[in-house]
């Protein structure tokens, strides 16, 4: 009897000790009282719920968005680009993630607090993946011409129409415009690397400041392929070819199955190895479950090896999964004629 009573007491104690855990904190947030002191706080000013976000099949292969400003030098291994910021310039905010139309804000820069000039300035380094551009443009020159055509004449006056220039021993297009109402000037310079339009945009009221930035661009290091019309990879990086993932180049293809979200565009860049297998996948913007479904499918794809001078080489191309807003623009001759 005593033993039974003892057992009952022990059971009661255990039950009582478990009661709070069994109740837990209601999933709606713990009633109207404050949460227990051990509750952990979420960090502020952090994007935790990222939605569709860039990712890749490995963490070693360089990505366009992987560039960084270190010691006031912008370096980007994917583009083979090194650009030392001008004196008294500094990085401002990190850019947004790549868009689902293949647009990257690689870096944003501004005049530093130490800057003593009369008017401050800011700058952008961007890239547009020519595989996914919404504009009907096949290369960097056509894209800049498109920008010029879309320039709102109500706001801006063209100071220098798009013209080919040499910078750091590579061909660029330069396009200058001004907003007369504010006297703000924009200098835009673009070239093409790995089938991306890579663009520098500098803005200030002070044109001398902008001229000095252009001068400093000459010290920039670029890959050999960088060219306004024909920056299409090759050499140490894969050749890039728009719409290479066509039936005539594919031996085996398995379509991914999206169980949930189906209507957002999911742009994907892949590198196909010399044997025709998908070697690397870069999701410019995908939900994790979409990336998983696409990875599972692409791992099964088999391409015909791409041959240059009769020898297989690696090739980089883009595929739009999900809900593409429209049919992709046809590849332009200039972009594929290398």
């Amino acid at each position: 009897m005593h033993s039974l009573f003892h057992r009952f007491l022990v059971l009661l104690a255990v039950s009582l000790s478990l009661l709070p855990a069994a109740r837990g904190v209601p999933q709606n947030g713990g009633g109207s009282s404050t949460n227990p002191p051990q509750a952990k706080k979420l960090p502020t000013n952090v994007i935790l719920n990222k939605g569709a976000w860039p990712s890749a099949s490995d963490s070693v292969t360089p990505l366009p968005e992987g560039g960084r400003v270190t010691n006031n030098v912008y370096g980007n291994d994917y583009f083979g680009l090194t650009y030392a910021l001008s004196p008294d310039w500094t990085e401002s905010y990190a850019g947004p993630p790549p868009s689902d139309s293949g647009y990257y804000v690689l870096a944003q820069i501004k005049t530093a607090d130490t800057f003593k000039g009369p008017d401050r300035g800011n700058g952008l380094i961007t890239a547009q993946d020519m595989f996914f551009s919404l504009a009907p443009a096949g290369n960097a020159l056509e894209l800049i011409n498109y920008s010029r055509d879309k320039l709102n004449a109500e706001y801006y006056k063209v100071e220098q129409a798009p013209a080919v220039v040499r910078i750091a021993d590579h061909s660029f297009v330069r396009f200058d415009f001004v907003a007369p109402v504010s006297d703000l000037h924009w200098y835009v310079l673009a070239t093409q690397i790995r089938c991306h339009e890579v663009q520098f945009v500098f803005t200030s009221r002070d044109t001398k400041l902008l001229d000095s930035l252009i001068q400093d661009l000459s010290k920039m290091k670029l890959p050999a392929e960088a060219d306004l019309l024909s920056g299409m990879g090759g050499g140490e990086v894969p050749v890039c070819i728009k719409d290479y993932a066509q039936d005539e180049n594919i031996v085996k293809k398995v379509d991914p199955f999206f169980s949930d979200r189906r209507f957002n565009p999911v742009p994907v860049r892949i590198i196909v190895d010399k044997e025709g297998k998908v070697k690397h996948i870069h999701f410019l913007r995908a939900f994790p479950e979409q990336a998983k479904a696409i990875s599972d499918a692409l791992e099964q794809w088999q391409f015909r090896p791409y041959l240059v001078d009769g020898k297989p080489v690696e090739v980089e191309t883009g595929i739009m999964f999900g809900h593409a807003p429209r049919a992709p623009t046809p590849p332009r001759a200039a972009a594929i004629s290398k």
């Binding site: 209601p26 999933q27 994007i47 935790l48 719920n49 905010y93 804000v105 919404l134 924009w186 807003p325």
Partner: protein, 535 residues
């Protein structure tokens, strides 16, 4: 059955007695006075906004003479519309026909009957079980659409005197069973709350368990008709203590019918025209999960249509089931991780479900279209009312005045620095409408591209809706901005300079435009602010 009879009377009274109240506060140029270039416009014409219940800055801060400042809520005509009052917004011109906004109907007009019926229902105070307007709760944010959508008139956004703060003192909820959450303040923004993440057992938010659903502020517990229902409010204190709470303010819906009637091809053309901009902007669209078409309403463009917007809000904000959302709504925790609402909290209206339905029988009325307007359920009439609301009209100032010159310069500055890349000033044009001719082939001067954009860490709310992620928001339409009090999705700001500043942060598409704005001279900045308050 819900009826409109009581509200009809209120509306009629408003039409008859108050049409002149705003005219008395109207300045000739609609901007409240003159201003020289680059100087702030005076705020509301009479120190107040001239809008019922709305306090506005009574004087321009002294520093405004040398430093740019937000002129404050614009006085003058409500929504820039002759005849609009604080309780009577204007319908589209083709809906008014030969009638005049703010005056009782002179000629029969079926569309106007539906508009007025919807306006009336928008103002009905809902109850738990007092016929005919039953169904409130068991969880809800407020008991009347118009209480939250009232600035500068019905159909708008939150007013200065937050109605949610008065929920206990006015007997809308029981003070024995509810408290006013600390983030609801007397002159703060009208808000709904969401917990981005579910909580673990120790009260910690779990980033691996996304939530994001609305956590209604109040419960019906303790109200007449709800004796069987004992519910606690969500754990707001714990959520605040762990940073697991975000807020949203009501979106104004003036001109919503125009937005609803934009074809996909038109929106895509706007998106394509943005390519190659010099501002680091590249947005995308949110899509309706059912048919994949572009959604466009709500802070994250998560809703496809006015009807969906109405049905969801009726269910989520007021707890009223309807023909789109047919059950009473539990909290996300009760629903997805719990057992749903307690049995004692169901069917409190004693009408069965859905609580808002089509009215199969209505009272005979010699005015056939007025009788017809009684037939649809509330959500259909809400949607019709919002669809037929006229868009706000800007107040650009008297031609030739210094105020007009400043506003015009500001509009151009707004475009040049990059704001108009997303805040597209006007979209041409709507589809042919099968509703009313004002919605056909019309320009939509909403100052939005209706895309969702990454807005960076400073504005991120970590709530995903549809395909919009935690930092993506629809470009907020700016039409009517001049007479709004609270800004950004959570109402955190009342000063446009703060709003502009908050567009810049790590990960934001707005950073470069903000930097360009900062590059303007003080006088040029003031022009932009004057322009914005003219909208």
């Amino acid at each position: 059955m819900k009826t409109f009879r009581f509200a009809s009377g209120l509306t009629l009274a408003a039409l008859l007695f108050f049409p002149g109240m705003v005219f008395a506060q109207t300045s000739p140029d609609g901007v409240g006075g003159s201003a020289s270039g680059g100087t702030p416009l005076p705020s509301g014409a009479a120190g107040d906004s001239g809008i019922a219940g709305v306090a506005t800055p009574s004087s321009v801060p002294a520093t405004c003479s040398t430093t740019p400042c937000d002129p404050g809520v614009r006085g003058g005509l409500i929504n820039g519309q002759v005849g609009a009052t604080a309780t009577v917004p204007c319908a589209l011109a083709s809906v008014l026909g030969t009638n005049t906004c703010g005056q009782a109907s002179q000629t029969p007009n079926p569309a106007l009957d539906f508009f007025n019926n919807g306006l009336g229902r928008f103002q009905i105070v809902q109850t738990v079980d007092t016929l005919p307007n039953t169904g409130l709760g068991p969880r809800f944010n407020f008991n009347q659409c118009s209480a939250c959508h009232s600035q500068p008139t019905i159909g708008g956004t939150g007013i200065a005197n937050n109605p949610e703060f008065t929920a206990i003192t006015k007997g809308i909820v029981s003070g024995a069973d509810n408290t006013i959450p600390t983030f609801i303040t007397v002159h703060g923004p009208t808000r709904e709350a969401r917990f981005p993440y579910f909580f673990d057992a120790d009260g910690s938010p779990d980033p691996n368990k996304p939530n994001g659903g609305v956590e209604d502020l109040f419960t019906v517990s303790g109200l007449a008709g709800a004796s069987s229902c004992s519910l606690q409010q969500p754990g707001f204190a714990g959520a605040l203590a762990t940073n697991d709470i975000i807020f949203r303010i009501p979106t104004p819906v003036f001109g919503a019918g125009l937005v609803e009637n934009l074809d996909e091809s038109t929106l895509i053309a706007v998106q394509t025209a943005e390519v190659g901009n010099a501002f680091g902007v590249s947005g995308t669209f949110n899509h309706n999960g059912n048919d994949g078409t572009i959604a466009r309403f709500g802070w994250k463009a998560q809703n496809k249509s006015m009807l969906l917007f109405s049905g969801e809000a009726y269910n989520v904000e007021m707890g009223i089931s309807n023909e789109l959302f047919t059950q009473d709504r539990p909290l996300p925790g009760e629903d997805q991780l719990g057992t749903g609402l307690p049995a004692g909290c169901l069917n409190l209206s004693k009408t069965g479900y859905p609580e808002d339905v089509t009215n199969f029988t209505v009272t005979a009325n010699s005015d056939q279209s007025a009788q017809n307007a009684e037939v649809p359920g509330d959500i259909v009439l809400f949607a019709e009312f919002m669809r037929l609301l006229a868009p706000p009209i800007p107040a650009p100032g008297v031609a030739g005045s210094s105020a007009a010159a400043s506003i015009a310069r500001g509009q151009t500055q707004f475009g040049t620095v990059g704001c108009a890349t997303c805040h597209t000033m006007s979209i041409d044009s709507t589809q042919v409408s099968n509703v009313t001719s004002s919605l056909s082939n019309a320009a939509v001067g909403a100052f939005s591209d209706f895309e969702i954009h990454d807005m960076g860490v400073l504005l991120a709310d970590n709530v995903s809706q549809g395909t919009a992620g935690g930092d993506q928001f629809r470009t907020a339409p700016l039409w009517g901005l001049g007479q709004r009090i609270f800004f950004l999705h959570d109402g955190r700001a009342t000063d446009l300079l703060v709003v502009i500043k908050d567009h810049a942060s790590n990960g934001s598409e707005g950073s470069t435009a903000e930097a360009n704005f900062e590059a303007l001279t003080p006088s040029q900045k003031q022009d932009v602010l004057n322009f914005l308050r003219s909208l």
